[in-house]
Symmetry: C2
Subunit: 191 residues, 2 copies
């Protein structure tokens, strides 16, 4: 059956992607070759071309997968309850997502891979994430566009500091709730 074959193909594709993420985490986002990637899934380099058109196609699939993961996690966020609690949950989710995987952070949010540009389809996922985040924050009472921008900057900044300057620790993580309070206070000063 062609269905069976397609399923196997997709499974191997995912296996390759998982291995690529592992290499990116251990050797840096650009610190691995197709030979290494193939070896880590028990193949030789040319066989990878059965599943991907080349290295940039692999980066593109990783880019799309990363944004799909983020989108799914935003979707799971509780949106009912006290606005402050909702925002704390959202802040923690974003913080964790960034800190968990520095390589993913670099691929999704910084332009680190020389010459790589995400495909239009993959980039559309990035736009979906921003749109969905905007909805969540609006539901919690943050509907001013500048509020969303400031919110994003604040929590990506905390996560970036944590990942770069205290990996494995909690020096910036501890500041999360306080940062949410600071933010909420400045958005509703007279309430």
């Amino acid at each position: 059956m062609s269905d069976r074959r397609a399923q196997r193909h997709a499974a191997t594709r995912q296996e390759i992607l998982d291995a690529a993420w592992n290499l990116a985490r251990s050797h840096g986002l650009t610190g691995w070759s197709l030979r290494e990637l193939a070896a880590s899934v028990g193949m030789r380099a040319p066989s990878l071309y059965v599943y991907f058109d080349g290295k940039d196609a692999i980066y593109d699939a990783m880019f799309a997968q990363g944004y799909r993961q983020l989108l799914e996690r935003i979707g799971r966020l509780p949106t009912a309850g006290e606005p402050v609690e909702v925002l704390r949950g959202a802040a923690r989710e974003f913080f964790d997502f960034y800190v968990e995987d520095a390589a993913r952070h670099q691929l999704l949010f910084l332009r680190v891979v020389p010459g790589f540009e995400p495909s239009p389809e993959s980039y559309a996922l990035a736009r979906d994430v921003v749109a969905r985040l905007r909805e969540v924050l609006a539901d919690a009472g943050l509907d001013r566009p500048e509020a969303v921008d400031l919110w994003t900057a604040l929590f990506t900044g905390l996560a970036s500091q944590q990942a770069s300057n205290d990996p494995g620790g909690d020096r910036w993580q501890r500041l999360l709730d306080r940062a949410v309070d600071m933010f909420v206070a400045s958005e509703a000063p007279a309430t």
Copy 2:
């Protein structure tokens, strides 16, 4: 005279570094080769080894130069006057420094070059910057360690968003003063 020769040597070294920064800005921090670098200063690759021990030594010199630039700019900051004004000046200085040069930002604050580790001498400059920043903020009334951490996260976050999502624009730059106010209000709520 050996003095003349040493001066010429240092000048050429700097010329090479300037060219390396240009390549890093245009082709990405890791998107250039020693051949290209040599060509851009009118040399062939082997001649570079008269001035640097290899590519990582060039990255190391760039790393040190970047932190020296930042240290100098912190030194120029006005420290007298209204604390809020001092903090606004400091915030703007940091923001500009990061946004000006994405490649420099990646080299100094993110681990983007596979295998590269700054030398102890260069890394000492990074520590100097943090110490000096701590002094400036303390002079403006921010002496709690967590306050400094939150400050750093907030303004590197704003700068990173500006550089990544609105290069050449001012979407996050416009939020700077408001962010300082938010920060100051949360640090001195009952004054």
